[in-house]
Amino acid sequence: MEIYFFYMFAGGMIITSLLMVTRANVIHAALLLVLTFFFLAGVFVLAGAEFLAAVQILLYAGGIMVLYLFSIMLMNVEVAVRMRQWHRQGVVVFVAVVLLGLQIWAVLGEVEFAAPKQWEWSLGATPGNVEAIGAVLYTKFLFPFEVASVLLLAAMIGAIVLAKRRIER
Amino acid sequence: MSNMPLLTLITFLPAAGAVIIMLFMKKEQTKAIKGFATAVAVLDFLISLPLWFQFDQSEAGFQFVEKVSWIPTIGVSYFVGIDGISVLLVLLTTLTMIVGVVCSYTAIEEREKEYYVCLLLLATGMLGTFIALDIFLFYVFFEVTLVPMYFLIGVWGGPRKLYAAIKFFLYTLFGSVLMLLGILAFYFANFKMGTGTLTFDLVELYGVGPKIPLSLQIWIFLAFFIGFAIKVPMFPFHTWLPDAHVEAPTAGSVILAGILLKMGTYGFVRFALPLLPQASQVFVPFMVLLSIIGIIYGALVAMAQTDIKKLVAYSSVSHLGFVMLGIFALNDQGVLGGQLQMINHGISTGALFLLVGVVYERRHTRLISDYGGLSKVVPVYTVLFAITMLSSIGLPGLNGFVGEFLILIGAFKKSYVYAAFAVIGIVLGAAYMLWLFQRVFFGNLDNPENEKLTDCNTREVLYLLPLIILMFWIGLYPKPFLGRMEASVKKVVKMVNAAEAPQKAALGKMTKLEKR
């Protein structure tokens, strides 16, 4: 059952992301990426990471992507639609990417995975995924967590400084 | 409380304050900067107060010790602590910092932000010097003080500030580099002949001194001597002092006289004496000679000055001659007196510079001949100056006397000749100070510009008041001060004198060798 859901979500992701990459209209691209993230959240739920799935929707879709839309609306994007969309190195890159894909395919073919570890998980179980993540995040990864918060602060200040209108003196 | 790194806190709080001012305060907000600097200084003083109250008087060793390995490969550690010798200096430093900051409110009118940053950084350097128990760390802090002081003189100084600043910097740097050589020599001597470990840990090294042969000790002592003697400054190395004092802003002079000079004498007591006991004893006549020359010479040259600050600067030479005399009397009374005199000199001469700064700020001249008859227009100032002057010339009942008396009694114990020459300094001290006082305050008010002088305002009285109170306190009841120093000083004296026997043995060997 769940493998079909997986294929459904994975297929949706691949299609939407391909569409996203090829769009000329930035708004469409962004909305398509939101859709990609929905599917991704589905994949996460299937992998037993429902907290991460919720975070994905809340932060990525509800936060970051809104930020994108917001910024896009602030900018003059209609001009870009009528311009050349592809970079001059496009063809070379495409070849290289395809080659890289083949290479990854080859690498994956070599790798043997051991049997997955058994893990009790089900949607709605208590104590569930949230507690488990919390227990790891605030003990073992407390320091990285704090570092991440500092990073966020730095990014916030950086963004404000960069985007602020220079006041003429 | 006992686990709190109190000393580290005290030492680095000013630096933290400096960083905050540097980063977060705008140049134009001078009021906020002053307020903040004052708050930092006051807070630093407040958190240093536990050192006074929690200090165990009976303990001769180090207290409030913190030790963290720093550069383990060469045996350097962040090792701090205080004993009776340094506790009062630390407190004096924190107190002087308050005074230094407060007295600069109106004296400094440009680049105020940088000024207070320098001042606070300087505080960290000085405090670190007094608490360091690792010779390497000591050296680091010793050098750190040079930089802010250089800027204080060079940026906010008087007309010849650049000359004075460079002279101060190069001269002291020259000395301290030689001292570094001495430190390294001792370090390797310890590795070869002492504990066999690479360490800068003072407590470990204390025991090593007597094992080092006298010939080497003498060289190391000479290196130390030049380093510290320039800082003190002792007789032939003193010429940077008048220049630096005269050109420095008031707070700079106060700190220079109050604290920086003490780093030299402190260095002798902390390092030269206990680390090189035999050499110290060998050098006693030499050191005493220089001290006495310093006392008399400084006093005589002070008398010849026409500039008030220069006069006070030369008086410092004379007073520090007393301190050195006391230290090299190598007995309880002398070293205790020397220690107390360090504090006294910090208070009295600091106050004198403050007072000079007060009129300088109003009249922008320091020439004695520009003044005269001031006591008519500025009575409060006159009284404060009189008390400070009397403290400086060692009137009993004020602080200067107790120190001088103990130094002289110690010197007398060593040899009556020393004391006999040193007392001349007392007479001359009275002469130049009273003459100064007479020329500035007595007589007719013949310079019309002086008529407009305003008396000390509340702020000035307030920052002088603690110093005046201390003068009386030490003068009338010095026991809390002497009591805190006594155990540690006795220990140092014992360490030096205990090494007498091996020294004689070594000398005997040397003579034998020569005979052969």
Partner: protein
Amino acid sequence: MIELAWLIPVFPVIGVLINGLFGRHVGEKAGPIASVMAGLSLLVVLGIASQMIFGAGGSHTVPLWTWVEAGSFSASMSFLIDPLSTIMLLVVAGVGFLVHVYAVGYMHGDPGYPRFFTYLNLFMLSMFLLVLGDNYLVMFVGWEGVGLCSYLLIGFWYEKQSASDAGKKAFIVNRIGDAGFLLGMFLIWTLTGSLTYTEVFQAAPEMSAAMASAVGLLLFVGAVGKSAQIPLYVWLPDAMEGPTPVSALIHAATMVTAGVYMVARTSPIYVMGPDAMSVIAIVGALTGLFAASIGLVQNDIKRVLAYSTVSQLGFMFMALGVGAFAAGIFHLMTHAFFKGLLFLGSGSVIHALHHAPEDQQQDMRYMGGLKDKMPVTYWTFLIGAVAIAGVPPLAGFWSKDEILANAFFTGHYTVWIMGTVAAFMTAFYMFRLIFMTFHGEMRVDHHAREHIHESPATMTVPLIILAVLSVIGGVIPGFPPEAGWIHRFLAPSLAKVPAGGHATDQGVHLMNAAAGGGHSGPAVVLLIILAIAVAVGGIALAWHMYVRDTEAPNRLYERFRGLYRLLLEKYYIDEIYQACIVEPTYKLMRGLWTFDAKVVDGAVNGSSLITVISSRFSGIFDLRTVDGAVNGTASFIRFFSQVFKYLQSGMVQNYLFVMLLGIFVMLSAYLFR
């Protein structure tokens, strides 16, 4: 009562604080406040004294707090009440109080009124400390303290250059003495391990004569400074620049006698060092004669009194030097009465003349005939003069006679002769002063004449009290000579010259006889008669020269012009000091300053110059050779960077593509490993 001794210095402290801190608000009330404080101290002193005199006596220590403690050295802030300090306290507190009261009137209207009384109370405090201390260190505190107050009070009118000069001179000369005192203290401490009197004196008998003499001489240097003996007396005449009450209190009655007190206090050590005592005796006698001779010709009323004071102090030291400690203290006391009286009297005269031109106020040549205008002043002054001249039964006679008798009987005949001559001179110059000031025609400036008046009650009452004391202050404690009450009272505090000491056998015999009940025999009677004769002779000569035959002084002047000049100019001692000590010091200091600036600092600057020059040379080398190599390397690198710079396209995606290729290469490496 004795345990309340700590109260004595407390009252002046209160006075100092009130007048010093709130002087501006207190204003003219400062005088009464200070006087009340001095009076309260006097009350306590009287209480203690009554207990000491009528009670058990003995010596009592009042400990306060441990002052300085360093290793084996320890000195405490404690007071000692014994007969000696009791007498001193009485003198200090008594005369001090009277002078306070006097000054309330005398200083009226002075702009520095509160300041004056602050200083005066500060002086009382210091003097009490000096007298009360139970060890040398506390005494030294007071010693320096009175020196400071003396400095402040001499320079009280600081606008006057001469006044501030005189103050400075006093302090510095005193400092020279103090240096000796300090060294003496150090020596005492090294010898006995203590500075407390009782402990020192217990150990004193073990001292060798040489060491005891050394201690004695060093301490005596201090006493010479403070008590204005040769060669350090020069400050005292100059000190007359201060207000007259100050001259009376500090420079006549109390402070200058501190040296006497100190020597008397140290008597147990002195008796061990005969050489020191001889020196003291000779210095005292010399000073007595020398100062008296100067006093003969001075015209300034206060200067005459000043030289008289120096001379009388010489008498006291004479007494100490010959071992008659009690007589010295006795003379100290009587001298305090009559010299205080004389100074206050002269102050009264000056006060009356303060409308006269500045340079005439104190000059006797511009006085005369004041007797009728100022009766109280005149009569009290006369009593003082008679007392100092040594006419029985006034105070001076008893003490001075004892001193001379002791000098004679201990075999110091030279000293005795000098003393007798000095006594003669004393009588002469005192009455010269009286006659020039109060008798004869009035030579006062015309404008000032109508302003001459008797002084107010606050000034005359102290005069009267002191006059009474001058009359009875000698006979009551000092009769019979050599065995009076004061001798018995002081005996526990003072040491006796031991047998086999420096005195001749006869002297010892006589002295011991004296202790048993006074001198007897014809020699004593003869001496007394001689003393009276000398006094009366001096008075008579003065009367002859200044009342009967007023031309006599001029005739003498014509004949002994050189001698007169020498005396008038005080033997040129000041000038000699100026030329031999002060000027060389100035020269030395200027020379050293030049040396410092040119040689010591020159060496520093020279070394920097050498460094700069050598750095020039190395700079050239650096530029040509070392820097050349560096530049070569740089141009080499520049050439290659010209080629490779084109790799930097400035397009992010190019760079990213290279990254992608990097991944490609890495994976290839993994695959084809």
